[in-house]
């Protein structure tokens, strides 16, 4: 029977499922027919779907897996095998030791142990890794004295890597990895993610739970079923397939029925939809525990296109970090913006998965415009950040986060300036970065219509004024006064107290016997100008503060 199965676009999560489904099948060379708002596929493509499912996930997320962490050490071992250990130095040893620690940790973790049971091999990896020990060089000894131990560790490691890298082993080891690092972000509690599952083999488990019911359902006569799928309206037999397994979206019908009318749950789906939903990890792009999905649902093709660009951006990055999702998003948006007619991507929904929650934003045409205009400033912020109570914050992420939520950046700028003044050691940014943030903010406010577009660059001239005043203070040998003044100015700006700001400012200029730059007359006009100019001025005023600090230290 080769009747085609049709799946239509729906809400964003289902769309993510469709994309995942298409990605999985196309990755294995199967054909899916894509139409404007639906896809069609033959039942045959579901043969061995579990293999395709894991193959796609493993291949896509390979870089993020702990399995990859183990295997990626192979080139180094091979290098020393060829060249001999003559060049082996302390750095290499340090790296080797930390690698050994990782290997020992991973190889005895529960998920790996579960995978060993599925693999038909008489090698005992746990024993092997137990025989591994980190290598210490005593103070008296040189590195040559441990080379033999290094050699021995290399041999064992190579054995472990061989074991891990074997395709029939990788299937299970990396498969387990994928489940816990990626799939768990989307759904949980059923099939191989059910802690009490009877079937230990993840492949068979997936097949039995998702694929088999689907094929059975397709063939069976459904005319007498009295319920309808909540998603696609196909007839279904009972309401057993509820939404409970989808993180943050569904709820457990048995435990809490109050979500539905009169406590009678009617939200259940057909096996086909369930299979599609199970593919969401392949549709949403995850980086560790963050995910991103753009619901560009004008048609299937553009949906796939946009999201695969994100995938491409992330996988092409040299070092994947949790901030990668943002960067990839920005890049793919910028590309689309430049390539296509602009209205096509306006008002699309962007879904981000962070801190185990979904966050939704609509990117308006204005916002895309702003993002595009500020891309140069934004890209310069990627590596800047600050540390607050042992947590590192990336300014780039903070900025984009605020822009997406239509918030201005004044509080962020204020925070950065206060940080720069009070604890410069925790700042991984300089004044140029703050100026960039201010620039972005100005463009944002202009773009959103909060501020009139100005021809002159108020940020530049205001921060320039600050800089020159500082120079004057330096000449008078009174630079130390500036921190106190900056605090007072910042307070005035934050509380919108123009009088206090101007008072302090005039006092400074009186002290320096300089005339007050005309830019401050603009600042008096309205709040937005006042804040922008005020913050820019303070930024200029504390410019080069760290240099002063260093000099004192010397």
């Amino acid at each position: 029977m080769s009747e085609k199965i049709k799946v239509e676009m729906n809400d964003w999560l289902f769309n993510a499922g469709i994309i995942g489904f298409v990605n999985i099948l196309e990755h294995s060379g199967d054909k899916v027919e894509k139409y404007d708002n639906y896809i069609e596929f033959k039942e045959e493509v579901l043969d061995d779907f579990e293999e395709k499912y894991f193959k796609y996930l493993i291949d896509t997320y390979e870089k993020q897996l702990s399995w990859n962490k183990i295997v990626s050490y192979r080139p180094i071992i091979e290098h020393f095998k060829e060249e001999g250990l003559d060049q082996f130095n302390k750095d290499n040893l340090e790296r080797l030791n930390s690698y050994i620690k990782d290997v020992k940790y991973y190889t005895k973790s529960a998920s790996y142990k579960a995978a060993y049971n599925l693999i038909e091999s008489n090698k005992n990896v746990i024993e092997l890794s137990k025989s591994l020990k980190t290598i210490k060089v005593r103070k008296k000894d040189t590195i040559e004295s441990v080379l033999e131990k290094v050699n021995y560790s290399h041999q064992i490691l190579e054995e472990i890597i061989d074991y891990m890298d074997n395709p029939s082993h990788k299937k299970y080891l990396a498969g387990k990895n994928v489940i816990y690092t990626i799939v768990k972000n989307s759904w949980n509690g059923i099939s191989f993610l059910n802690p009490q599952t009877k079937e230990k083999n993840i492949y068979i488990d997936f097949k039995e739970y998702f694929v088999k019911p689907t094929t059975e359902y397709i063939e069976i006569d459904k005319s007498k079923y009295k319920y309808n799928c909540f998603n696609c309206d196909n007839q279904i037999k009972d309401l057993k397939n509820h939404y409970g397994f989808l993180n943050n979206i569904g709820f457990d019908v048995d435990k809490k029925a109050s979500h539905v009318w009169k406590f009678n749950n009617d939200a259940a789906m057909c096996p086909i939809c369930k299979l599609i939903y199970s593919c969401t990890p392949a549709g949403i792009m995850y980086v560790y525990n963050r995910g991103i999905f753009i619901n560009d649902n004008i048609n299937i093709a553009s949906l796939i296109n946009t999201n695969n660009k994100i995938k491409y951006e992330i996988n092409n990055e040299e070092k994947i970090s949790s901030g990668s999702t943002y960067k990839a998003l920005m890049n793919s948006l910028a590309q689309k913006y430049n390539n296509k007619i602009k209205y096509e991507i306006s008002d699309i929904q962007v879904i981000r998965y962070e801190d185990e929650n979904y966050r939704f934003n609509i990117l308006s045409k204005q916002m895309l415009n702003i993002l595009n205009n500020t891309s140069e400033d934004l890209s310069k912020l990627i590596n800047s950040g600050y540390k607050e109570i042992n947590t590192y914050f990336n300014i780039y992420e903070l900025v984009i986060d605020r822009l997406f939520n239509n918030q201005n950046l004044f509080t962020l700028v204020h925070k950065l300036l206060i940080f720069k003044l009070s604890s410069p050691n925790n700042c991984r940014f300089n004044n140029l970065h703050i100026k960039r943030v201010l620039n972005i903010n100005k463009k944002f406010m202009e773009g959103m219509g909060f501020m009139n577009v100005k021809e002159k660059d108020i940020i530049k001239s205001a921060s320039g004024s600050g800089y020159y005043l500082r120079e004057k203070y330096r000449q008078k040998g009174a630079v130390d006064k500036l921190s106190g003044i900056s605090y007072r100015l910042l307070n005035a700006i934050k509380t919108n107290n123009k009088d206090m700001f101007m008072d302090t400012l005039l006092n400074c200029y009186l002290y320096a016997q300089k005339s007050v730059p005309k830019i401050f007359l603009d600042a008096l006009k309205d709040e937005e100008n006042f804040k922008n100019i005020g913050y820019a001025f303070v930024t200029g005023l504390i410019e080069g503060k760290e240099n002063g600090g260093d000099n004192n230290a010397k």
Binding site: M502, D503, L506, L510, Q513, S515, V516, F520
Partner: protein, 242 residues
């Protein structure tokens, strides 16, 4: 914003019509620093009301028949404004004139030091003011021949003063302050006295002394900073909190 500017004179006598000299200095300073601002203040509109006021302190001076004798050859010019822009412009303009010799009325004035004066915060509804320059209570209907200057002590004068304040504050604070402006109450001290001041050739009756004003703090703040009643931008009605 309040400033005190030290002015140095070359000769120890100035005309009794002193406000005229200072205004001339103002105009010179503003037009020297920023022509556009000068025109905005003095040329764009006739009799434009300004947000600032000033007063003079001449030390141990003696009033002669036509002139004022200042042995120290120094005048302190007090300037106060409600508007930050005027404050900045004043500061910048006078800074630009600093230590330049300016010829006015067969005397030469040099701007010496410019100081900023810390302003007091007004938080209560009642403040006693002292006049730094005399308050003018003017009944004026656009026709100079009918203009009359009143004393703050008689009833008519108080009524006119209230109208003067109303007119001034409505322009400075906007219509939304009207209700609060209506509720202003004031009592001039018994020691208040009438003085005659020469201004542009005519003798003006004006009042010096203490006055208690009752109003919302923001209104008092405005009066404190921009001066009270008529002719304030030509050297009348500057107040200080006692």
């Amino acid at each position: 914003m309040r400033f005190t500017v030290e002015l140095e004179l070359e000769k120890d006598r100035i005309s009794k019509d002193k406000n005229r000299i200072i205004l001339s200095l103002f105009k010179k300073a503003f037009s020297f620093y920023d022509k556009k601002y000068y025109k905005e203040l003095y040329e764009s509109k006739e009799n434009k009301m300004k947000d600032f006021t000033f007063s003079l302190y001449m030390g141990s001076c003696t009033f002669l028949r036509e002139e004022i004798l200042i042995p120290e050859k120094k005048i302190s010019l007090n300037f106060s404004t409600y508007n930050n822009k005027d404050g900045i412009m004043f500061y910048n303009s006078f800074l630009a004139l600093k230590s330049k010799k300016i010829n006015i009325q067969n005397n030469t004035i040099t701007v010496k030091r410019i100081n900023m004066v810390r302003e007091k915060y007004i938080t209560s509804n009642e403040v006693i003011f002292k006049t730094l320059s005399p308050i003018v209570v003017r009944e004026h209907y656009g026709d100079n021949s009918k203009t009359w200057f009143h004393s703050l002590k008689d009833k008519k004068g108080q009524e006119v003063f209230k109208n003067n304040l109303k007119y001034q504050l409505e322009k400075e604070l906007g219509k939304e302050a009207l209700v609060d402006i209506k509720n202003i109450e004031f009592t001039p001290a018994n020691t208040m006295k009438m003085v005659k001041v020469k201004n542009y050739g005519i003798e003006i009756h004006s009042n010096i002394g203490k006055i208690k004003i009752k109003a919302k703090p923001y209104i008092l703040d405005c009066l404190y900073k921009s001066g009270a009643s008529s002719l304030k931008s030509s050297g009348f009605g500057m107040l200080e909190i006692v």
